[in-house]
Amino acid sequence: MSSIHLHYDVSGEDFTRAGEASGSVKKRLKALGYNTDAIRRVAIAMYEAEINMVIHADGGFVDVEIYPDHVDVLLSDKGPGIPDVDKAMQEGFSTAPDNVRNLGFGAGMGLPNIKKYTDDMRIETKLGVGTDLYLTVRVNQ
């Protein structure tokens, strides 16, 4: 067996449940005795991405593939898509509504933070169709 596959459906209805998938992945990585820096980076990046999915896209699903030396994550949603990816990557740029900002989210750090903590990040997005976010975190030797 060369990898462990995990699948999660992320509900877009309940804001407070965002983070369940990343929490579950974190727990499993710890049970694997995974590299602790990699666990931290996967957890932070996935949590941010999950929050994005709930805020902007009414949920979706997450597929995680754990390998001994890296973790691949796909977060897929059928949301509105990102009109300008470059702009969304700028720190501080946010289209989050006020009620979300009041909870401490939507500071425009989501995508920049995800990029910061992952080794690879790829966004495939189509307006009106949805967004697929591919992340890879490698174990630093």
Partner: protein, 424 residues
């Protein structure tokens, strides 16, 4: 962590194998085998939740008896500030301290005095930007152990300063050595403790090879003798040298308030502490400099070895503090070195990791997921593991079998019965 000392232990005669402690344990450190609870040493953080919940009083904390102080020439008591919240109508903590003298202690040094020194040292270190932020308090040993076994990336955020108990013990020893000229071996320092985690901390410290404290006597254990002595005092000695900052450490938020800053957070109760640590790990909690975490609800006044309702104790502490000066103990820069941890806090991956070989661990997890998918998912605890997932883990580790699940067993018996009745 093999041969790790735990102060929480089981009275096997009283244990009936019910699932109360199993379900309550925050680190899933309990299993029930052959009708008795067992503690998984590498996972127990000595928080005392199992002692609190057990209806049969089968869980208890190892601590010293008052007679144990007799083996030392000079006997020092270092009472936790939570002790001051245990008495009705108390308006002067000197009554409690004189009571401690009356039950046999020669010298008293309040832990709240150590707390004031720790508060000052922490403030200095924050100001000098010497620590990784957010700084997590190291005062609650159950929390420090929890971080050590479950939150690898937060180990570096734990403040590398001794807890007030340890600082108080060192200061008291030094003072008594100076007064009497006696060697350390003849001076016994006893902590009057609200919780079992502190007992563990004395016997198996997180911060050093050896603690400066010799033993711990539970507040609940000492209470009858102490209240009796307090009721029969003829004079009250002037012993107390604590201000409101030190005494405030008895309750949740007291230590954080002593930081005299605004960017702090205080959480109490083990489940809340775990939530805060998870969010810290995910970097969802930001813009906070200092984090105080107490495993017990209400803070140390909520310890399982106290006698009074924690919220009543909290109200009393609040009243006592009203008439106290702010702080009576000030840090001598020379003493800072002896207040620092002797060893770094390191993560114990083995507490939760399935194997130290990643490929083997992945194979085990794969099996675990398959077993788990076949279990009923009721998390009933009847098999002796707290959840179906924990049971799947135990099966993979070879310490449990699927038929330990009574629902699986029932289905098996049913199918045998069905087979038999169809052949008849």
């Amino acid at each position: 962590m093999k041969n790790y000392f735990h102060s929480v232990e089981l009275d096997a005669d009283k244990c009936c194998g019910c699932t109360n402690c199993l379900k309550r344990c925050p680190t899933e450190a309990i299993r029930i085998h052959n009708g008795k609870a067992h503690i998984l040493s590498e996972r127990c953080i000595d928080c005392g939740e199992c002692i609190r919940i057990c209806p049969h009083h089968a869980k208890r904390a190892r601590s010293n008896q008052l007679e144990d102080i007799e083996q030392f020439k000079i006997k020092i008591a270092i009472p936790a500030p939570a002790l001051f919240g245990q008495f009705n109508n108390l308006d002067d903590i000197d009554i409690v301290l004189t009571g401690l003298r009356a039950v046999g202690f020669d010298f008293i040094y309040e832990v709240s005095r150590g707390a004031e020194l720790v508060s000052e040292a922490t403030r200095d270190m924050i100001r000098e930007n010497k620590l990784k932020k957010p700084i997590i308090s190291s005062a609650c040993p159950a929390v420090v152990r929890l971080i050590k076994i479950r939150f690898p990336e937060l180990c570096a955020n734990v403040m590398p300063l001794l807890a007030p108990m340890e600082v108080a013990a060192k200061m008291a020893r030094r003072e008594v050595r100076g007064m009497t000229g006696l060697p350390d071996e003849e001076i016994g320092v006893f902590f009057i403790t609200p919780c079992p985690a502190k007992v563990t901390e004395i016997h198996s410290p997180n911060h050093a090879e050896k603690s400066a404290v010799n033993g711990a006597i539970a507040i609940s254990q000492l209470y009858p003798a102490l209240t009796h002595a307090m009721d029969h005092l003829t004079t009250v000695e002037s012993i107390a040298k604590s201000g409101l900052i030190g005494v405030g450490w008895a309750t949740s938020g007291g230590e954080a308030a002593a930081m005299l800053g605004e960017k702090y957070l205080a959480a109490d109760g083990i489940e809340n502490v775990i939530r805060v640590l998870e969010e810290l790990e995910d970097e969802h909690i930001r813009d906070v400099d200092f984090i105080e975490l107490n495993a017990c609800s209400g803070g140390c006044v909520g310890g399982v070895l106290t006698v009074e309702n924690p919220y009543v104790a909290q109200a009393r502490i609040h009243n006592l503090r009203k008439y106290m000066p702010v702080s009576l103990n000030h840090l001598d820069e020379k003493d800072l070195d002896m207040m620092l941890w002797e060893k770094e806090l390191t993560y114990h991956a083995e507490s939760f990791a399935l194997s130290d070989d990643i490929v083997e661990a992945m194979e085990m997890m794969d099996q675990m997921e398959k077993i788990c998918a076949n279990l009923p998912g009721l998390d009933c605890g009847s098999c002796g593991a707290p959840t179906c997932r924990a049971m799947a883990e135990d099966i993979v580790k070879g310490v449990a079998k699927e038929t330990d699940c009574i629902h699986k067993l029932k289905a098996k018996i049913q199918s045998v019965y069905d087979q038999l009745s169809s052949t008849l």
